[in-house]
């Protein structure tokens, strides 16, 4: 039954026709956007191109723990400071959220009704209130702390005030590099010992005290070396001079607010993921391991968690991605991350919106892709291995 439009009912023709149509429309739209944009840019006297990256920024960044930043530095350096700040709050946030989330997820399943209800209330409140509101709330709590002159003193070396947390700054002297080399070597060798011990246990059934030997290697050997070399580490203590502290290491309230809000918010989601993961391990597994006489903590560590991880890791990955993307909210409290520093202040100063936003978006895309890449590798390593 062929209609008059015989060639149109041919699937191959139709497929090519529609795809050409879509590509054509897309190209037309792109052409339209590019031509109007270049006209608009010309009319508003906005320069194009990447040369602005080399121009001096002309503003200060209050929080730049890794790079020294002066207002005469270029916009390119603003970008690097922003990336480092974004990574700093994302990485520390992910670590804290994971630890807190796992603890809360396990506590939520505790047989103690009161405790598990408390965690439930925390999870519901934390998940159902916008993150931005939580960031602003933490910030408003932190800046209501006492002023610098009346700052709270913790353990005689930390000072907490509305300007942040001041702590001693470690100063590494010449011999310290040997200690750090020793730590790295200890980490590598304990990793190798772990692999060797696992292989030996699989073959012979003999166990090796991996944990205590690793602790010995990682902590005690570098510590002995440290004292042999004559303690090549000293601390610079913050001192109150005039209206502010001089010296020491300062952690600004913007960072603390971001860190607290991000990790507490994400931990609520992670705890639910962990809970679902643990509940996905069938009851028989727990009963079987109890029947062969494993201790409660061992059941958790050797039987439940490894199986639960297979369910936990994929959604955990998307939580890490979310946390990283959410770190862009630092702009609300003035945390100089990628969006605030480069996508905000630099953009406003240079007016080159398209270039700045393109760089910011590309950076976030590559961070997201990198996280997914590594988490996928990890995910593959913990999945069931078909033999």
């Amino acid at each position: 039954m062929r209609s008059n439009l015989g060639f149109f009912s041919d699937e191959k023709f139709r497929s090519i026709f529609f795809q050409t149509l879509v590509v054509g429309l897309f190209a037309l739209g792109l052409f339209f956007v590019i031509s109007t944009t270049s006209y608009n840019l010309e009319k508003r006297n906005i320069a194009t191109g990447w040369s602005f990256l080399q121009n001096p920024a002309g503003f200060d960044i209050s929080f730049s723990p890794f790079l020294e930043f002066k207002s005469t530095d270029t916009h390119l350096k603003v970008y690097f400071v922003g990336v480092l700040n974004t990574l700093l709050v994302s990485v520390t946030g992910c670590i804290a959220a994971t630890i807190l989330g796992f603890i809360l997820g396990i506590v939520r399943l505790s047989s103690n009704w009161l405790l598990s209800r408390l965690v439930y209330i925390y999870v519901e409140f934390s998940r159902n209130v916008p993150l931005l509101l939580q960031i602003i709330l933490w910030y408003s709590i932190l800046i209501q702390l006492p002023r610098v002159k009346q700052s709270l003193q913790v353990l005689d070396v930390f000072y907490i005030s509305n300007r942040g947390l001041y702590s001693p700054r470690p100063i590494f002297e010449s011999g310290f590099s040997y200690v750090s080399i020793a730590i790295v070597l200890a980490l590598i060798s304990s990793f190798l010992i772990n692999r060797w011990a696992k292989k030996r246990q699989d073959k012979t059934g003999q166990q090796f005290p991996v944990f205590s030997s690793s602790i010995g290697l990682i902590f005690i050997v570098p510590l002995i070396l440290f004292f042999i070399l004559g303690s090549p580490l000293s601390f610079e203590h913050p001192e109150l001079k005039g209206f502010n502290f001089k010296g020491g290491l300062v952690i600004r309230p913007e960072f603390i607010a971001m860190f607290l809000a991000l990790s507490i918010y994400t931990a609520a989601f992670i705890s639910e993921i962990v809970r679902a993961g643990i509940m996905s391990v069938s009851k028989g597994q727990r009963e079987a391991s109890a029947a062969i006489g494993l201790k409660q903590t061992w059941i958790m560590r050797l039987i439940i968690i490894p199986q639960a991880l297979r369910v936990i890791v994929p959604p955990l990955t998307s939580q890490y991605l979310n946390l990283t993307k959410n770190s862009s909210l630092g702009i609300a409290v003035g945390y100089a991350d990628l969006v605030h520093g480069f996508g905000g202040i630099s953009l406003n100063q240079t007016g080159q919106a398209i270039e700045c936003m393109a760089i910011v978006m590309a950076t976030y895309l590559s961070i997201s892709l990198t996280i997914s890449f590594f988490m996928n590798i990890y995910n593959r390593s913990i999945q069931f291995k078909e033999k």
Binding site: V22, L115, E124, L133, S318, K325, S328, L365
Partner: protein
């Protein structure tokens, strides 16, 4: 071992209150210690928080009996020993929190829109509603009515969107974003699964791009870059620009959720539809999508909760939503220093909406008994 076995006591009550307490709170020594510690903490905390929020708080009048009009008149600022929260700020600024700067004469239009919104949502939320079909017709035309009602036109005086604010903006952004993202998301999901390589690739690129960047960069895109893309003379409203960004963002997430639903449809359904001679669109509209959407409703509600919370981000580009009005109030010298009261109130409003939505999603999940957690990212 010849001695007689000790006569065992009967098992402790495992039913009733005592049994429950024993099993759930005092199962063993550590458990009992934890319970006592938690009870002690709650005993310290609960009276304090109740005192602050309710018993010592000012609602409209301070402890001298005067009506509070600025922060200096709050009891706790008159006498630090006496007084807790000062809710009067919410009382005084309530209109702004709910309507923004909408003219008072026209405010009945907003109220009417709120009521109509409830009626429009009813048939979507409750499938067994009597005369659901007619309610659904109303739901379809509601966006048009709401547009003219809120914005003006058709005999209503115009109220420009920069006068909108507070809960009104939060709801407009949330509802419009979700409603527009739904059809776009369906198209993107179908496109991504399309057999035509160009279309599938374009949809995949779009979805992955949007999901890879933070919402705030899309809002900047809408605010800073969109005006550059459009020809002269077309001046887009600020709220519309934000809506474009929010809709693009939400449709990518919606697409992934619906794709999860599409993947759960057994291939037999496609084959059966094709063997009946259905075209691509008839097959999808009549056979595939109704089933796919039904199983992806719970994750759709979950992403919608996410969007509802994310609408607060618009304050960064200068739109005054509920949180924006709260921040604006704090910047007012009359209400300086009342941040806890204001943030508490704003959190509570968001909590009521999002918690309600998440309970509804749980109810649906139970009803549908899908048990599959698709697209939960």
């Amino acid at each position: 071992m010849n001695e007689m076995n000790e006569v065992r006591k009967p098992p402790v009550a495992t039913t009733g209150i005592i049994g429950w307490l024993r099993i759930n709170l005092f199962f063993n020594w550590t458990n009992s210690l934890i319970t006592l510690f938690v009870i002690y903490c709650l005993y310290q905390f609960i009276p304090w928080i109740l005192d602050w929020t309710i018993f010592s708080a000012d609602f409209k009048y301070n402890y001298l009996g005067e009506q509070i009009t600025n922060q200096e008149m709050c009891s706790r600022n008159l006498d630090p020993e006496n007084g807790g929260a000062c809710w009067a700020v919410i009382y005084v600024r309530f209109y702004q929190f709910i309507y923004g700067f909408y003219p008072k004469v026209e405010v009945w239009r907003v109220n009417l829109a709120y009521v109509m919104l409830a009626f429009a949502l009813l048939p979507l939320l409750y499938a067994k509603l009597p005369y659901r079909k007619y309610f659904l017709y109303f739901t379809y035309i509601f966006p048009v009515i709401a547009y003219f009602l809120l914005n003006g036109g058709l005999g209503f005086t115009e109220v420009s969107t920069n006068k909108w604010g507070g809960l009104l903006v939060t709801l407009v952004l949330g509802c419009t974003g979700i409603a527009l993202a739904f059809p776009i998301g369906i198209m993107l999901a179908l496109g991504r699964r399309s057999k035509l390589p160009v279309i599938s690739m374009m949809c995949t690129l779009f979805i992955e791009f949007i999901r890879g960047v933070p919402l705030i960069t899309l809002l900047f895109f809408g605010m800073v870059m969109l005006p550059l893309f459009l020809p002269e003379g077309i001046d887009m409203d600020g709220l519309v620009r934000v809506l474009v960004a929010v809709t693009l963002f939400q449709s990518a997430y919606m697409a992934e959720v619906i794709r999860g639903g599409l993947q759960a449809i057994p291939p037999g359904q496609y084959e059966a539809a094709k063997s009946l001679g259905m075209s691509y669109w008839r097959m999808n509209l009549l056979i595939i999508l109704p089933q796919a959407i039904r199983i992806s409703i719970p994750p759709i509600v979950n992403t919608s909760i996410g969007l509802f919370k994310d609408t607060t981000l618009v304050i960064i580009v200068g739109i005054l939503d509920l949180l924006g009005i709260g921040r604006g109030t704090l910047a007012d010298t009359n209400w300086l220093g009342l941040s806890y009261e204001i943030y508490f109130f704003v959190s509570l409003v968001f909590f009521i909406f999002t918690f309600g939505m998440s309970r509804y999603s749980l109810y649906l999940e139970k009803k549908l008994k899908t048990g599959i957690n698709m697209g939960a990212d």
